[in-house]
């Protein structure tokens, strides 16, 4: 025991002052303030993202009844399943096609909106954002009615032109087309607004210089607009790729993975296997398989951004 070894007040007082002053200094630091301000969000991410992610990793190492550790056994099992590879293939087709068309449509529409006089532009921007603003679970229900196997409004309209009926959700190819179409419809406005912001930040002098050099419309796009938008395009594509790969609501509502599993993607199949089939570890393994695919995509896309950043 050391409580009577030296006068307590003096030492404690000195230590306390030092502590208080160092605390005050720490609080004065911008980084500390920033950390404290972001702390609630960090805590939310830890609780809602980091913990579930690690729990999911833990689940993926258990057997079906969740009583035994099986290591990578679930992944070994999945690799032998034809349906799993069908899901991998479909997820890639779904995500890549949807992201490509979202980017293309977003780019074109952003140019149109950019060229609208400032007075009426706000209205157009607002209207074009509507598909992105409505919760997909709701808007997809409307699409479901439009595609309804027996009462499709599209088929009704097409019948006046002697076309159809088209099995929108009943045939594998049409069903894939339908889910991709709805995803593009929902996601294209996001690209549009990002690209519009990027377009607005391109200095007019660059276009003027290009015009003086005799550049035509296509050359202005290729040599001025696109290079100036590259980072935004890369970041937006990566973000959308992640969100599209992890999509659940559109496919679940529109086709629930059918017909014959031909529209299942990772999330919907994970739900089918894990929740509906009561095989939670296998469902966790299916959803975790997205991670390496997205990690590779992220490395390539972000590496490119760093490279250009250094060049600048």
């Amino acid at each position: 025991m050391v409580d009577v070894a030296f006068p307590p007040n003096r030492v404690a007082g000195a230590g306390g002052t030092r502590k208080r002053s160092s605390l005050r200094t720490a609080l004065k630091r911008k980084s500390t303030t920033a950390f404290l301000m972001t702390l609630p969000l960090i805590l939310l991410i830890v609780i809602l993202v980091i913990y579930p992610a690690f729990f999911s990793l833990h689940l993926a190492t258990l057997n079906k009844s969740m009583q035994r550790f099986v290591g990578l056994g679930n992944f070994e099992f999945l690799f032998k399943r034809d349906t799993f590879w069908l899901v991998v293939k479909q997820s890639c087709i779904f995500a890549l096609t949807a992201v490509f068309f979202k980017a293309l449509i977003g780019f074109i529409v952003a140019h149109f909106v950019h060229n609208i006089p400032a007075k009426g532009q706000r209205k157009w921007r607002g209207m074009l954002l509507v598909p992105w603003v409505i919760p997909p679970a709701m808007s997809t229900l409307a699409w479901l009615w439009l595609f309804d196997p027996s009462y499709s409004a599209f088929n009704y309209t097409l019948s006046f032109f002697g076309v159809g009926p088209i099995p929108w959700t009943g045939d594998a190819a049409w069903a894939r087309f339908s889910v991709i179409l709805v995803n593009i419809w929902v996601g294209a406005p996001f690209f549009m607004i990002m690209y519009l912001a990027a377009l607005k930040s391109v200095p007019d002098q660059l276009y003027e210089a290009a015009a003086i050099d005799g550049a035509n419309w296509w050359q202005r796009i290729w040599y001025v607009t696109l290079p100036m938008m590259r980072n935004i395009i890369a970041i937006t594509t990566l973000f959308s790729l992640i969100v599209t790969f992890a999509n659940f609501d559109i496919v679940r509502i529109l086709t629930a993975g059918g017909p014959l599993d031909h529209t299942h993607i990772f999330a919907t199949w994970a739900f089918r296997v894990g929740i509906e089939g009561s095989d939670v570890p296998l469902g966790a393994s299916v959803s975790l398989f997205m991670l390496p695919i997205l990690a590779i995509a992220a490395i390539f896309i972000l590496r490119d951004i760093n490279k250009r950043g250094n060049e600048a």
């Binding site: 057997n63 079906k64 009844s65 009583q67 099992f77 032998k80 399943r81 034809d82 349906t83 196997p149 027996s150 009462y151 009926p165 099995p167 929108w168 959700t169 009943g170 069903a175 086709t255 629930a256 993975g257 059918g258 017909p259 014959l260 599993d261 089918r272 929740i275 509906e276 089939g277 009561s278 095989d279 939670v280 296998l282």
Partner: protein, 446 residues
Amino acid sequence: MSRRKLSRRQFVAATAMSSAALITAPYVRGAYAAGKLSIGFWDHWVPGANKASTELVNEWAAKEKVEVTIDYIPSQGNKLLLTTQAEAQAKSGHDILAMSTWLPHAHAEQLEPVNDVVEAVIKQSGDVNGTVRYLGQAGGKWLAVPACVGSQIKGPCSRIDLMKKHANIDVQAMYPAGQAPKADAWTTDAFLKAAEACQKGGVPFGIGLGETSDSVDTVGAFFLAFGAEVVDAKGNVVVKNDNVRQVLEFYKKLMAFLPPDAPAWDDSSNNKWLVSGRGALIMNPPSAWAVAKRDAPQVAEQCWTHGFPVGPKGRFAPFLPYYWSIWKFAQNKEAAKSLLLRLSQPDAIEKMVTASGGYDLPAFEKLTTLKTWAEEGPPKGTLYHYPNPHKHQVLSISASPAPPKVAQQIYTQATLTKMCVRFYQGEPMEKTLAWAEGELEGFMRS
């Protein structure tokens, strides 16, 4: 007299031990003492049906002095399924939870056995059918109590007028109200002929071939009618057999007479098909008829619920029982058992059946002739044969007799429907069987 002196140290030790003993001793509480009980019931789609359950629970709670909280959880959007899985993971939640068809087996290790409750009810109200036993019992233990609320048979609901007009079949004569069925001629061949006639008449049978429950249940009953097992009761994959080949051929013929978009149907498609007046027959509990009664009374007046056609190996109808389960982590198991016993009494069951307009089905054999089914209409007697009062058909579940945990995979992955669709779309028979064999082997995980 010698007096032993208690030291301070001894006093402290004795006090600590007594306190520890009091804290750790099991808190024995009879069902008839006060306590809390939380219940998660299935949210009934029939307006007013929940009220009957609430009244029964409150009456019991007042008598037993138990404080109850009831949550009605809808099955739409898989809310109840997600709640069940979440509670199983968290090992926390309601004391009593309603579980659909496959879930008692899926969570068998986490459920409190309820043999005392179920055996008492069976003694009182008669035995349960094989499907209720198959889905609710494991290793001689009852995993949950068969619930009346939510249990259903998905038999044919035919249009009296259209079947007479196009197929020359009088469904009311075949299944007369108040009498035993006269349905010997109602075979799978007759069914096929009727499907063809109605399709030619522009009112095809509305049978789905999608991956949702209604489609899977129907195909399962036909598989059983042909004796077509894909996995046997011991868990062996036996899909490559002649009965399976025979039922696939049958379905191929049948599919030609069904709406071309049937592979995309979900559980609402057949209801819409009947209510809109586009079809002569669907496979559904009386919910479609009840909706028609509200939205299209002229259709409802022509609806008649009856039995399945008989196949080479018998007459099977899909039966989907609901269960009330008690988690092992429940806080008040004795009270939960007492309540479930109360809810399984004949008067309680009759009250719930009446409140549901005859939709809910008790599992116990003495309770399949309640007056609700005889009196519901229009037309009067339309539900008489719904609860299978004459045991005319075997109540079954798709994918049985495979071990329940394997059968659940076959059911949720809709393997049987997929086999039919693949074969119908032109895949060679042996290729379809080989595909199914691969799928089924993957369901053997433990």
